[in-house]
Structures are given as C-alpha cells and as structure tokens.
C-alpha cells in the first residue's frame, strides 16, 4: 500500500512537472509560485525538524512527502538506564542528539545530509511493559518520499551500536 502511494505521488509529480514545463513559460507566475511554495515547504521542514513538538507532523501517515519506518525492540533493562544508554550511544555515533525529554522518555536525533537524502529525523520513544523496556524507533526523511533504505540503515546502525555498547 505504501509503495502504491509512493508510485502514485511520484507519477503525479512527474506528470505535473512535464505539463507545467510544456505549457507554462519559465517566468509564468503560476510556475514561480509553485517553485517558491516547494522551496518554502523545504525550508519550513528544515526549521521545524529540530523540535520534538513536531514529531507527529513528520511521522504522520498523512504526510506523503516524507518516508518513514517504525521499528520496535525490547530490552530487559530498566527504562531510566535504557534512556541514558541510548543517549550515550547516540553521542558516540554519527547521529546528532537534538532534543531529549526525560519526563516523556522521548529522544530526537538527526542524521547529516548525504548523497542519498536530505537527512532523517530519528524519533525514539520508551515504554515499560512487564518490567521490560520497549523502545520504539521511527526514522523519517526530511523532504523526500523514498528513503533509499536510509531509514532502515539508521535503525540497523543504532541497534547495532546499542548491542555493541552492552559489551563492556
């Protein structure tokens, strides 16, 4: 279903681009408006990405311009220790810790811009169930519909780093 959505949106953008290029001159106000809207939208995303407050905006299924993946992992370690551990792991990795909230057990980390993407937001939530800590990861792209497996790579890298750090 997600792939179908991506194909549909990509198809729409291609058709739209072709039609506007064909029918509208480069100086046409409609074309310029669309260009500025897209640029504005990108800058808007760039500004708000560093706040946990806008987590739902990036991770929402209705936001079709960002690709996101959700993963879950359980550890038999207390939530407080696990929270500290994940922060420690992020600080010792390629991810950049942006915001963390001990009261809600939420972490936001970002990845730098690469050839594959404009960077991703990594949202990490902690919950307790049966005295075990459930860590929920959500990696969302900043402004692209297809992540080129970067979201999955982020999850694998973080999980790998956590596992490695549990060997002391």
């Amino acid at each position: 279903m997600t792939t179908l959505k991506h194909i549909f949106v990509a198809f729409f953008i291609i058709i739209f681009s072709v039609l506007t290029t064909y029918y509208l001159k480069p100086s046409n106000p409609i074309r310029l408006t669309i260009l500025f809207l897209m640029l504005g939208f990108f800058i808007f995303n760039l500004i708000i990405r560093k706040h946990l407050l806008y987590k739902n905006y990036f991770t929402s299924t209705y936001n079709i311009l960002t690709a996101k993946v959700h993963y879950e992992v359980t550890y038999d370690i207390s939530i407080d220790l696990m929270f500290e551990k994940v922060i420690e792991v992020i600080n010792n990795s390629n991810f950049k810790l942006v915001e963390s909230s001990k009261s809600t057990y939420e972490i936001l980390a970002i990845t730098p811009i690469s050839l594959k993407s404009w960077g991703e937001n990594l949202y990490i939530d902690f919950n307790v169930k049966d005295e075990k800590t459930i860590i929920k990861f959500c990696s969302a792209t900043l402004f692209q519909m297809y992540s080129w497996e970067k979201n999955k790579e982020n999850y694998d890298e973080l999980l790998n780093n956590i596992e490695k750090s549990l060997v002391i």
């Binding site: 550890y75 038999d76 370690i77 207390s78 220790l81 549990l166 060997v167 002391i168």
Partner: protein
Amino acid sequence: MAIIVNLDLVLVKRKMKLKELSEKVGVSTVNLSILKQGKVKAIRFSTLNSICLALNCQPGDILEYVE
C-alpha cells in the same frame, strides 16, 4: 542466567561510589549500573581486570554462579 553480579556488595565493602569506580575504570556509570543489574551482554577481560584492580578484589568476588 545463573551468573549473579555482586558488584554492589563489593562497592559497599570498599565504601566506594559507582561514580568513583567509573572514573577509575573508565567505564560509564550507565554501563556499570547495567553490569550491576547483570544485564550486560558480555564483559571484557580488560574491564574485569580494571574493576578488580580498582576494587582490590578477585573476579569471583564480583561474579558468582548459582544453581
């Protein structure tokens, strides 16, 4: 797991805080806390060596096998 970590007992006997041990051994307090709970995946010989050196004890004082 039947291996019990008695690090907290040894720390009490030596009257040493976890933070102090962390500074001496060069392992973060988070990692030592996880070790204390017996939840680490593995412990390196070098780390065990440093802990024994800092606490002036034997590996058997820290790790215990129970049936």
